[in-house]
Assembly symmetry: C2
Homo-oligomer: 454 residues x 2
């Protein structure tokens, strides 16, 4: 009998808890969908600050914007976490391709972190390969003194486009080093792009110190199609000029933190963050202005609703995700040296599109605990909890401090049309999709604050 009563009480308690969770979920969504400020905040970040590469004056301006936005959202306290960041400078650049028998100026972007031609003209024959296998089969004599065109296509058959990106991105990351090892003088890559357009996509490349650092540029899909056709027909050459270079010294910078102090367990911290820096193109709207304003929105919504979470909630705008992760590392350093107790960290850095899932990087037991609540998210279009996705900025919290991670997973169809391009602008973010993502983040954080991570 006692056992039965226990079961009944346990059932009732679970039922009541779930009904209450569901009600709070609804309140959070209503508040953000109707009164949300994240879209307005994004407009200000995109239009008044614009793109903001680490180390630049724009990045410094973005730090100021972030502080003010955290205060306006009602954070109990706001502070900066210092970090020293690399500063890559683009300068002027130009690419001309021999198409149809004459040189044609095309739209191109030097890859982030790459070295340029020092502003001097570099003219050389182009050799096209479709992939590394094909490149590796070439004798060095076929490559020496040439510009290698890595014409690898982003695979459109991956439904989750981050898988296509993972498949293609090695040509951007390793292309210059692979090519230089055989004596190439520069590389051109087909952008890591799903786009039915001609926007070139920049993004980080990585040199190896022992190998010559050769210039590297990306071209859009339509230009790559033309260059491919030209290479198939016969000999093609290219003229390349660029001033880009990595500055010799690191630059002092900051991540921005806004906090709501927890009621019952103020020492237990839950972090939600995006990254404040962007590449130096477009407006860094979906990468990752949207993550920043969604993180701030979590604070705003809790404050506006008078929700006082049990745990301490921190919104963090990490600096330098794109080429160093110095902000994320400094945040983990600070957590460690202050002996902080972190329950979980969640990142939103996959665009401001309709949410579909939440990635979980944690133990099986912790996942099972969270999955008890997954149906609460269904009315908000979130059903996928299968992916092991956290985020670059919070990764050191996991690998160094063992903190469980999560990552917001929005619909991925449009992200790699826009990613790292001049088309990643405010106008390509939808207000409702952005807000819905913020609502799901706030719901998830409320849930973890109430029920822990086991």
């Amino acid at each position: 009998m006692k056992f039965r009563i226990f079961i009944l009480l346990a059932f009732l308690s679970a039922y009541t808890s779930s009904a209450q969770d569901s009600l709070i979920f609804r309140k959070i969504a209503d508040e953000i969908m109707v009164n949300g400020m994240c879209y307005n905040n994004l407009r200000v970040l995109c239009k008044r600050v614009g793109h903001r590469i680490s180390g630049s004056t724009e990045a410094a301006k973005a730090v100021g914007w972030g502080k003010a936005a955290m205060h306006a959202a009602g954070a109990d306290s706001v502070w900066l976490v210092p970090c020293n960041v690399p500063y890559w400078f683009r300068g002027k650049e130009s690419l001309e391709l021999m198409l149809g028998g004459k040189y044609v100026q095309v739209d191109a972007l030097s890859l982030g972190n790459s070295e340029g031609t020092g502003g001097k003209l570099l003219e050389a024959p182009v050799i096209m390969v479709y992939n590394f296998d094909e490149f590796n089969a070439l004798p060095a004599s076929a490559v020496e003194g040439k510009i290698v065109f890595f014409n690898y296509r982003f695979r459109q058959d991956f439904i989750f486009t981050f898988e296509g990106y993972g498949d293609a991105v090695k040509y951007r990351g390793a292309g210059p080093t692979v090519a230089a090892q055989k004596g190439a003088v520069a590389i051109i890559i087909r952008s890591m792009s799903t786009g039915e357009d001609d926007f070139p996509h920049t993004g980080g490349t990585h040199y190896v110190d022992s190998v010559k650092k050769i210039p590297a540029m990306a071209i859009g899909n339509r230009t790559a199609d033309k260059l491919e056709e030209a290479c198939k027909k016969g000999n093609v050459s290219a003229k390349l000029t660029s001033e880009c270079h990595m500055m010799p010294d690191l630059v002092p910078s900051f991540s921005v933190v806004g906090e709501i102090k927890g009621t019952d367990n103020p020492e237990r911290i839950i972090t939600v963050g995006g990254h404040l820096d962007s590449w130096d193109v477009g407006e860094g709207a979906n990468d990752d202005g949207t993550g920043c304003v969604q993180s701030i929105e979590v604070i705003r919504a809790f404050k506006a609703l008078g929700i006082r979470p049990k745990c301490t909630i921190r919104a963090v705008l990490f600096m330098n995700e794109e080429n160093g992760q110095k902000g994320g590392q400094a945040y983990a350093d600070s957590a460690k040296s202050n002996h902080e107790n972190h329950v979980l960290a969640i990142e939103t850095d996959a665009g401001g599109f309709s949410p579909r899932g939440i990635g979980l990087v944690m133990s099986k037991e912790q996942k099972a605990h969270i999955l008890q609540y997954k149906d609460l998210f269904l009315p908000y279009g979130v059903y996928d909890f299968t992916r092991e996705e956290g985020g670059s900025d919070i990764e050191p919290m996991h690998s160094r401090l063992g903190v469980p991670l999560a990552g917001l997973i929005p619909d991925s169809q449009r992200y790699f049309d826009l990613h790292h391009t001049n088309n990643d602008v405010f106008e390509n973010v939808n207000h409702r999709e952005l807000k819905l993502g913020a609502a799901v983040l706030a719901q998830f954080i409320w849930l973890i604050s109430e029920h822990g991570v086991n």
Copy 2:
């Protein structure tokens, strides 16, 4: 023992069938994501035909486009189903509002099917109400001779925006009649719009024969905000001129049908369709060019892959969904008079966004049969089979012939920003989202063709 073997065989057969289904699903998705023609087809429809209201020369041009596109997709046979459609003509229109003490020309659209001022100037005081309850509480003396401004806001708290539309659309449908019954001379409505912008949204209104047909115009959210402020401050008047009217006679028109003949059960027919007509604004891209090109893509993909479905598959571009559903009615009439055997009809008329679900309008047993296969759709982002959604064009197949219906349910966040506006253009459709929707349609149809609807 026999029983055990039976179980084992049943299990193996189910397993094999599911594995084969999964493989075909993959093939269909690969073909459409990589080689799909629907995005190119949509470009041609939007840019060469443009908007295409029933009865117009553009609608006739669209019929020609549809026939050619069906042939190009490889349909075994293509034909037209005739229907007589209403033809509503917009003509010139203008709205000036007294804002800040002077008349200001604003962007406005007469509601579809509405009568205009016969081109004459109509100037009258404006009376604002927030909803019908408030209007009903007014004495007729407060309304007589006035222009009623129905300032009902599209509720942003509905996550599935079609629910918000269902909530708000009565002001567009019934507003003119409700207002005229108390002597109003015209109405202005805040558009049925989720948009953070100023696009006015047209769409059908419905007069009652016994009540005076007064002019009706929609204004965008930003203009509605200004008019609201002005009305709160004091007396406001408006000047309205419009030439719109319903033509006295129906116009001969057509729906377009393309068919692949089934192998095993050619007499069993599965229909997939969208509607070919649009309102006379924008390019009718998401409403419903996307549904047309997705339906054609089903035919193209089966042909390209050499998939020969057991049942006959028909792609139908229905005429006159927006203001009469004459195409859908004629299709059901034709099915009835030809004693056709229809297994199921599915419509795609909710925009070319990432698919999320498939609505099912059928018996519990039929739903249960289909739901056995729902996990096959998960890798393609389709998880919601809970909604009773078919489509306006296929509705007569259900209500008159008892055919089970289904409806593709894409992500709904952006639809009512664009719906019935000059902003519903090709550029606001994403190629991958569009193709993914087409892939899911083709997968679903293949499944029904193989396994029936119980």
